[in-house]
């Protein structure tokens, strides 16, 4: 819903104007060093995936990851579960890169290869979601840390320490650096949601 509302209200004021100028931009050449580097990296990943020739399908790993996330990084999560989930995802990711089976050829329509690229990303993103949930020692919105609730089971916020958007910088496997983007509330201040 957030995405829909933001898109509807924000895009007409921003993106349209930006794209209006971009319509005159000619086709961008592909010989820039950054492009060449990115292209080689993608080719390398594809070759690596195709050459694993393991035993288990991409769906096997996708479902295993989904189960970990469902059980331990759902709306209600706790530190113990998240720490376990991080270890389990790391082990699963290692297994994926050793044992995934991708049938077919690389240079043809290959839905399994496409899916493998996405699941490889999910195996990194899943871990990051757990790490993010683990560092946020409060309950807030869709993030309900079971340790942070009041006597009536309502979410316990901590705006003194967590009024920021967590922007994580990828620095390599299992290595993310947190950048805090502070949130400032001038007129309406966040409070515990109450339906009473």
């Amino acid at each position: 819903m957030q995405g829909l509302a933001d898109g509807y209200f924000v895009i007409p004021y921003t993106l349209g104007n930006y794209l209006a100028d971009d319509i005159h931009t000619k086709a961008i050449p592909t010989d820039h060093a950054a492009f060449v580097e990115a292209e080689n990296k993608v080719k390398e990943t594809l070759n690596k995936l195709m050459n694993i020739k393991g035993k288990h399908s991409v769906d096997h790993f996708h479902k295993a990851l989904g189960k970990i996330m469902w059980d331990k990084c759902g709306m209600a999560r706790n530190a113990k579960g998240l720490e376990e989930a991080i270890k389990e995802i790391q082990a699963l990711r290692e297994e994926f890169w050793k044992d995934v089976r991708i049938p077919g050829e690389q240079n043809e329509l290959n839905p399994e290869l496409e899916k493998a690229g996405r699941v490889a990303d999910f195996l990194e993103l899943g871990e990051l979601m757990c790490r993010d949930a683990l560092q946020r020692n409060e309950s807030c919105g869709g993030h309900f840390r079971e340790e942070y609730q009041d006597a009536e089971g309502e979410a316990k916020r901590d705006d003194e320490n967590f009024a920021f958007v967590a922007a994580w910088e990828y620095k390599g496997p299992s290595n993310f650096e947190l950048h805090k983007e502070k949130l400032q509330f001038e007129i309406v201040h966040p409070t515990q949601r109450s339906y009473k």
Partner: protein, 240 residues
């Protein structure tokens, strides 16, 4: 139906699938079969799918001689295995139309539709503030007709069902949704001509008003849109 690519001659392959639940969707049947094929070291069957809730139009399968299978106004993803009995043989083919070349197995290239849209299925708007929704009053009757035409998901069932592989239902729905509204007026004279020209260029066949498209359309698009397209096309010739 199996084929490596558009150049391959193509052939039928038979698979037995056990333990099929009545509650499985038709696409889930393929998921289960593909998982098995991969585990057996074989190649899975390539098929198009995305939203799996009947709105994206990707799941193009010709099932026992009907686009999207036996149920009325349903896409393949909404078709469930309770439509069949245990032991049934089900024949599945890709969309059959020269303008939709086979990429692999059940996946066809439907970008011809994109090029028809690019030829005229748009309106010009100013950038900046979004116009207030009620700034231009539109009669309820017209709004309803336009909305019904806009329900087209571009799946291609109309082409697959047509004996001539005509894309008239698709093109007419896309022309109608704009022709019925004042916002569609600025490009009105060129839209119908350009889109019909592109449709012909792509190799879609002619319309002979047999109505198979309407009968098989998962969104119930009416062939009265084709009459509207013809009217738009003829009147465009008089405005020059």
């Amino acid at each position: 139906m199996a084929s490596k690519n558009a150049q391959d001659k193509g052939r039928f392959e038979s698979y037995d699938v056990a333990d099929v639940s009545k509650d499985m969707s038709f696409l889930e049947l393929f998921d289960v079969l593909n998982e098995r094929l991969i585990n057996e070291g074989k190649e899975p069957i390539a098929f198009d799918h995305d939203c799996r809730e009947g709105i994206c139009g990707a799941c193009s399968m010709y099932i026992n001689g009907r686009a999207h299978g036996p149920w009325e106004q349903t896409t393949t993803c909404q078709l469930h295995m309770r439509a069949y009995n245990d032991g049934d043989t089900i024949v599945v083919e890709p969309w059959r139309a020269a303008a939709f070349p086979v990429i692999k197995d059940l996946t066809v290239d439907r970008t011809a539709f994109d090029r028809i849209i690019q030829a005229g299925g748009y309106i010009s708007v100013n950038t900046g503030n979004a116009v207030d929704a009620n700034a231009i009053p539109i009669e309820k009757h017209d709004a309803d007709l336009s909305f019904a035409a806009a329900a087209c998901i571009g799946c291609g069932a109309c082409v697959a069902a047509c004996k001539n592989s005509s894309a008239m239902l698709f093109t007419s729905a896309k022309v109608s949704q704009l022709a019925l509204l004042p916002q569609g007026d600025p490009e009105r004279a060129t839209r119908a001509e350009n889109m019909v020209m592109q449709m012909d260029k792509e190799g879609f066949g002619s319309c002979t008003n047999t109505g198979a498209c309407e009968a098989e359309c998962p969104k119930g698009i009416s062939i009265s849109n084709i009459a509207r397209l013809n009217r738009e096309f003829f009147s465009a010739g008089f405005t020059k």
